[in-house]
Amino acid sequence: MSAIVRRLGPGASLAAAILVALALAAAAAPLVERALGLDAEAVDLFGRLAPPSAAHPLGTDELGRDLLLRLLYGGRVSLTVGVVAAVAAAAIGTAIGLAAGYLGGRTDAVLMRFADGVIALPLLPLLIVLAAVDLTKLGLSPEAAASETVLLGRLVVLVALVGWPTTARLVRAAALSLRRREFVEAARALGFSPLRVAVRHVLPNAAAPILVATTLAVGNVVLFESVLSFLGLGIRPPTPSWGNMLTGAQELIWESPRLAVWPGVLIFATVVSVNLLGDALRDALDPRSRRRAAGGARGGE
């Protein structure tokens, strides 16, 4: 434990602790619900916008629901989507980066041009169009299209579709240098197929950049999820997410600014922690980057 803290530095260790705490709190939502003796979905129109009290530690929202419980349940959704979509994005990015870096030549040029194109395009307007697609027109039954699983799945797919280029670039860079190494040459000389060499010999050695890219991707994905949900195109109420809890908050900003603070603080804390952790992981795993100590989670460097 102390060895990890030493390698990551105090800031990143604190970030990791915050993330663990947030995840545990979200996981414990049903327990908190029972301990408080409340129902997270219970609407109480007489107790709307109540200030913090013993019964409601953070007060209630515009429908009289307990804010703390909504935040915890929202955290489950936001964090799950964040991790699942980031892993999906990293998987796509790894496959593309590996193909580009290992095969090189024209494949590399085409794939990387494509990645650059995705990074350069205005993603949010595109995501909004994609998120507005009516799934019943794609042959889904109305019930299935409105189900929570399908909506969550769609959000994961959408965010993964735009989140992969960062990983692709990092993995490509690693694969480019790895494919010239002796052990890869040896594997090729033994007559293994390119796929086997790439997956069994190159991929495991690119684990460090993949880990860093996945971590940084979680931050980006949580941001994308929150803004899409905020705009009404991601997680739909009554299912809470940190993003869609802020939608109602904007209309009530004059009456109850308190509602706008908490969900945002949690998104912010999550993303800052993830970015700090990703940066520290990069430095810890790649001694060369310590000197440069830069690059951004934004813009996909």
């Binding site: 395009l121 205005p122 929150s226 830069a294």
Partner: protein
Amino acid sequence: MLRYLAGRIVQALVVLLLLSAATYVLLGLMPGDPIDLMVGADPRITSQDIARLKALQGLDRPLWERYLHWLGAALHGDLGYSRLYTQPVLDIVADRMPRTLVLIGLALAVALAVALPAATVAARNPGGIVDRGVNLLCFAGISVPPFWLALILIIVFAVVLGWLPAGGTVGAEGGGLLDRAAHLVLPVATLAAASVAAYTRHLRAALIEALGEDYVRTARAKGLSERVVTMRHALRNALLPVVTLLGLDLGSLVSGALVTETMFAQPGMGKTIYDAVMGNDYNLALVGLLVAAAATLLGNLAADLAYARLDPRIVYRAEPGA
């Protein structure tokens, strides 16, 4: 150089063409179609009327035929009619585009004005207290959800302090330039935040690297002051990667403009695209999206050309197959 430029422009046009086709198909998948919306508005409509209306609007023909028809008309300058605003799409875009350009331009200027000194101060003593502070602020900048930053700014400056308006472009009295400027302060600050952080991080890293180069040692050795060494020698070289970053960042700025304009009720391109998608205004959504993409691609190209101009070592040649 000219061949390179021509190649890049052709590339951008191909991207736009593909994007228009993809978006056209996607918009066809959005809920409802124009006729459904008319049916909803008029209870006396008959099924013959519906068939007639569909034929009139060309909705009985296959999707690809409709797309080619749209494309042909668009290339002749006919971008269609907006259902939401009952105005030609071109007029709406011409009205909204300048507002967004002003917003993005101001945000870019603010971002550079803050990032340059911040990065210079931070790079002077890497690892020092100032550097750490700047670094922490940068992390905050890239991590804050833009719409939440907007909410917090509204709460602090409009609700609590009452110094600035919470949204819109002009006050109730339809004030002058100062009033318009006041309405732009919060949107520009929101939009600039993420860019400030990104530029500062990159510039700081580039500066630290430049300050370790031989020519900086030479400049110091001949007795130049630290200020001259930093400003005249290191900074000029460190600015180069930032030019590329500016080009790449345009896409994020356009995305950011969508959020910012929606939050602050600014009638620009971003809010127009959002409203068009939410209101099933296909023509407007399609054109808005393409205009945003075209602007971004142009910005990228401009950044690459500026880079070549600033760095005499870079020579662009048309590469085969690219």
